[in-house]
Symmetry: C2
Subunit: 253 residues, 2 copies
């Protein structure tokens, strides 16, 4: 969302955060696919012109079902991010970190191999990074220690690291301290926003209006510390926020 | 469940783990209360004679609504655990650790004050303990560091510490290393199992059959690493495990 706002400052954005059912990262593929389609239906009911699956886990596991359902174009984070990483990769190869589900799905590995069948890929699930980021422990010795635990194995072995989870850019500092400056960190959000920009331009779907855009945030719950966490992600105050209900047969409204 | 099996080896037990929607610990009170009643309805549909809310968060926030709904007796973890802690407390007082929701609800503080209006109480939410326990990092320097962060303030100030979350007994080692042996750790599971035993005996509801009991585990999802985590909690293999669906209007079957 933050990256989209930067790159597409005139687009209205409808955001849905399934806060009652997060985290998706350690649920089964079956449940993630069911929830992702319900989420997409909600966005379509709001009249959007394109759906961005701004979650690595949902993109990795549910891209096909959301695409099959959706009457509007759908962009996930995996393809654009893999493309960006492949562009930056040198002789050593690409590292990928993400949730258990994202890494377990091998979605990044498949996408990278489709671009270059000989690419060298190392992956690692980092399940503690999400709670650390949500605790706001961006620069804390605990986070440094956890980062060392997960990432030391990559030292000297990759030239690019895909931050394959929305939370990880918040831990960029700790991640860089282990990997060093020689490794480029590829932010899935940034790569995906570029892809959205390209799609909207090439298909002439950009908003012709240059007025101040409208941002609508919908969530399925107001969890503890919601505003605090949301604002640390977005870097701004949320103005329009509504709680929606998840109904019978998964309808959200 | 583990404590119940030890204390009541002849009782059949129906377990429901709402694995599709966990963790409850950082959701809003409203959502927790809604889910807890749905969960209780499922257990009642299985013909149980008593419901144990074996979750501190649900006990802290939803005991009244589950009790109001339930046609069978209901026991939560807060009252029995507070009673046990009050019994062990000396001149210094009682510490309580739990999830954000449990601590925020002040359920333990109220329960302890009902027993002794002058009791001295210190509380602290420890949101990283659940993910650390689920990662199996029981004896790890990261866990020790996090424990020091949360618990140093208690040193010399309490004689009892309530482990107010089902996951925390798994981190007993790290917690003791910070608090020292002089502080008694009160396990909510153990105190609650005792209470269940007392209720069943005094109301003559104990199972008269002495045959091998039946344990049925129902979950709403098979998350990543489910068996691994479940077995580390239970200390035994799960034999009967079924996945149930959460339907329209919250019905679970």
């Amino acid at each position: 969302m933050r990256q989209l706002i930067e790159l597409l400052p005139h687009e209205n954005i409808v955001y849905f955060g399934d806060t009652a059912r997060v985290p998706y990262g350690n649920k089964s593929a079956e449940v993630i696919r069911e929830y992702a389609v319900q989420d997409a239906k909600f966005l379509v009911s709001k009249g959007v012109k394109i759906i961005v699956i701004a979650c690595n886990t949902a993109s990795a596991l549910a891209m096909d079902v959301v695409h099959a359902y959706s009457p509007v174009p759908t962009i996930g984070v995996i393809e654009p991010t893999a493309k960006e990483a492949a562009k930056l990769a040198g002789s050593k190869g690409v590292g990928v970190i993400g949730t258990l589900s994202t890494i377990g799905s091998e979605a990044y590995t498949s996408a990278l191999r489709r671009i270059d069948s000989k690419s060298r890929i190392m992956t690692q699930a980092c399940p503690l990074f999400v709670p650390l980021a949500e605790e706001g422990m961006f620069d804390h010795q605990v986070t440094d220690l956890v980062a060392r635990e997960y990432l030391s194995q990559f030292t000297g072995k990759v030239d690019v690291m895909i931050l394959g989870c929305t939370h990880y850019p918040l831990l960029r500092g700790a991640i860089s301290r282990v990997l060093g400056n020689v490794v480029s960190l590829v932010d899935a959000g940034e790569a995906t926003a570029k892809s959205v920009f390209e799609l909207l331009s090439s298909s002439k779907m950009l908003n012709p209006q240059k007025s101040k855009p409208r941002y609508e945030f919908y969530v399925s719950d107001f969890p503890q510390k919601f505003n605090e966490i949301a604002e640390s992600f977005l870097g701004r105050k949320l103005e329009f926020v509504r709680k929606v209900q998840i109904y019978s047969n998964g309808e959200i409204r």
